[in-house]
Assembly symmetry: C2
Homo-oligomer: 479 residues x 2
């Protein structure tokens, strides 16, 4: 009985997904009539209710709309054909510039309670499995020796490492708990990797636009940063990468291969394989940040570059900050052949991890609830994303372009050239709205008319209004 | 009623303390008869039971022993006049050498459950107020928004910062919560300060011997390390410091001013004032590590260098890892005029602290239980220390010297020159005992015949046996 229900669920989602693709591909255009419910039943051999569920799903996403006594049509209100941004074209020279203070300000707005915070790339508290995590934390306090007061081994909580290792099968990885070092979140993992792999004055290569946290981290270590041309859909431009490794000595690359922040781009599997091979050939360590990998909108979990790493040159970093509990500070790194170096940096800079929260997540993962939670979270995020592009299509200025993220939490919006999003940011803050201006994501002069919006917020009237106000402000700024 | 009990407690301790000083000063020599109980009553105007309590206290510490029908005598078994080590004499040149692997090995021995771990500088779990901390942690999970899943402000938990600020009165400081940034333990605080104050190739000055964690941290940041002559009783040699600032450009100094690890030395208040003035004059930031300050054996909490810092040149780092909960990873830094720089490093390298454990300690401190816990812990540690020197006096080779720590957790033992404590370490590990060989505490060729023993362990038969075995091994090694 339970299995039957699950099958029906999968069926209606499958049907909805394939119609959605046709809408996305323009096979079904705005205003086109969809097949009748009866037709769906015949074509797919499903029950009336399954077919109806598929249409409810599409309707909930504002992709289709019913017309009385006529049937379902591809929704008119849905995206006025928002174009995609172009491949980024940063200059081919390493930058070593001081970041502006707007970054810190926008990251920590004075009072967040009344703000609509589009600037913070984490899921809203209501999207997290708080009650179940609390249970895990209480259990951790009860079960750990000394209630979690005494040091755990340097490599980290074993339960957690075993669970992370098991989960690696989902991305065609093959980690054992011995390959994993726990860290205080993904930023610590990246920090340890960079400290282990580079020294002041070295050059590293990153995507462009690139998460400002990575830029800041690298700058604080005195590194030069080379920004690589990046495609909004497929990530790092492989041809550019090939040219650059030929002429520039890189100490490391950092790629957010799955759902890059802020583009939401996804490196195709061939590019992943190719990068690993190419960088391996030139002996360049690849620090891969897979923090968004579990938040895919597609059919299945994407692989990582690490999935194709045969020589240990990939240092894979991730955390549970985007899916479970940001402030638990639970991350990890699989350091490949550099594991010992990374482990030493952890020892020197922080001794050990916080036992309670690491054990708590280990226990949570052990219950097998992570997968069900992720299914729900991904669905919510995808629906949010569709709502965002609907409102942006309706309210933002003519000529606005947006990315089509294939997962993650970030929507990259390119406004008409005449708009300066730093000025817009200041206007928005006065309306109690924050977002991340595009210039935070580069050290060069680019993206000045872009912004990143997190769709990790709860979708409600306040959020919708926030977007509408942003649109209005942008339109005013144009004039 | 309660007040009266407290007064009596204070009285008996006061009497015991003053007799103890006389014993330490050799005013009362081994074998001397102590005043009778009756005499104490008359002299101090106290009750019989108070006088008796004072003698029980001294007896528990093995300082005195009763002889039937005769009274109390200064104990014979107590220290066979162990000499003190000399002032250290490191070379006056900055070192940049790679540390040996024994450090990592000795810090994390394979299986600790069966080991007697003299190498770890934290109090044993049984000395921590685990039940009360658990209560704080449970309360944190219940009271924090989202059970502690969502980010707290960058500067850290406010409750905790307020408590740390209040506590600053105990060392004649005057911090407000705005002056304090929370960190993941004291190592993180030191790491942030060093990253903010120095860059690769800079020279910093430290005590000699110096806690190996500081040496490793500084090395991993590519710093040159100048080791300063240090007195086992009064810490950094002020004359040497004065000469060095004249001829060497220092990017920072790191002093463990109170109960330096491993010497246990205590900088006199005049030296603290003088250092702050001197370093301020040459514009050298002083990173002060006060992690042991609350673990004093004397009458009162010692001040910090920070207590005399009028210009904000002192960055004071500390944590609760030595007094409450090592694996909670709760530390803090008062960065003085460099607060913004330190805060940025925290943002770039770790985003935020672990909410649950920071709130838990905030709650614990709010209850006012810290002081009572510290009183108990200090008493235990001091008694442990006396037991250690008793056994060392009995069992270690002729010519062994030991420090007289005035607080903290570390006992520094100097064995006869012919003993190599790295060889001794390997022998000890085969007997399931670990300690920290002296060469871990320097980058130069010195302290090869020294060792650090933590007296944070529970004092029991296993611990006593561990010391006796060490003594036997050392005697064998001499031959």
């Amino acid at each position: 009985m339970k299995k039957k229900t699950q099958n029906r669920e999968l069926l209606y989602l499958k049907i909805a997904r394939s119609l959605e693709q046709q809408i996305n591909n323009d096979t079904l255009k705005v205003g086109d009539k969809l097949p009748s419910i009866r037709m769906i039943c015949r074509q797919h051999g499903v029950s009336m209710s399954t077919a109806q569920f598929a249409y409810y799903e599409l309707e909930a996403k504002s992709l289709i709309e019913p017309r009385p006594q006529s049937g379902f049509y591809v929704s008119n209100s849905f995206r006025k054909k928002l174009a995609m941004p172009e491949v980024s074209k940063p200059e081919n020279k390493p930058a070593l510039k001081t970041v502006t203070d707007i970054i810190e300000n926008s990251f920590h707005p004075a009072s967040e309670n009344n703000f609509t915070v589009f600037s913070r790339g984490v899921p809203a508290m209501k999207l997290l499995p708080v009650a179940k995590l609390n249970k895990g934390a209480l259990q951790a306090i009860r079960s750990l020796p000394g209630g979690g007061t005494t040091y755990e081994p340097l490599q980290g909580n074993e339960k957690l490492r075993i669970q992370v290792a098991r989960w690696s099968f989902s991305w065609k990885g093959n980690l054992s708990e011995k390959d994993i070092l726990t860290t205080a979140g993904c930023m610590s993992a990246l920090s340890y990797c960079l400290m282990a792999m580079t020294k002041r004055g070295d050059t590293i290569a990153v995507e462009s636009p690139c998460f400002y946290g990575i830029l800041q981290l690298a700058q604080s270590l005195g590194l030069k940063i080379l920004e690589l041309p990046t495609d909004p859909q497929s990530g790092v431009d492989m041809e550019s990468l090939k040219k650059i490794v030929l002429k520039t000595k890189l100490a490391a690359c950092i790629f957010v291969s799955n759902f890059n922040n802020p583009f939401g781009s996804l490196m195709p599997e061939e590019h992943k394989k190719e990068s690993v091979k190419l960088l391996g050939k030139y002996n360049i360590p690849l620090i891969e940040d897979d923090i968004y990998g579990d938040l895919y909108f597609g059919e299945k979990r994407p692989t990582c570059c690490k999935s194709f790493d045969e020589t240990g040159m990939v240092l894979l970093c991730s955390s549970f900050s985007k899916t479970l509990a940001p402030a638990y500070r639970v991350g990890w790194v699989a350091g490949g052949k550099f594991m010992n170096e990374v482990m030493k940096i952890k020892l020197f800079h922080s001794l050990s991890s916080t036992s309670i929260t690491h054990e708590a997540l280990g226990s949570f993962l052990e219950t097998g609830r992570y997968e069900a939670h992720l299914r729900k979270l991904r669905k919510t995020l995808y629906t949010n994303y569709l709502q965002y592009i609907r409102v942006i299509g309706e309210c933002f200025p003519q000529g606005t372009k947006i990315c089509r993220p294939q997962g993650g939490l970030s929507l990259w919006v390119e406004l008409p050239k005449s708009i300066d999003t730093i000025e817009l940011y200041n206007l928005a803050v006065s309306k109690k709205i924050t977002f991340s201006p595009g210039s935070m994501f580069t050290l060069q002069k680019q993206f000045g008319n872009c912004m990143r919006l997190s769709y990790g917020l709860e979708w409600n009237e306040k959020t919708e209004n926030g977007l509408k106000v942003l649109g209005r402000l942008a339109k005013t700024a144009m004039q």
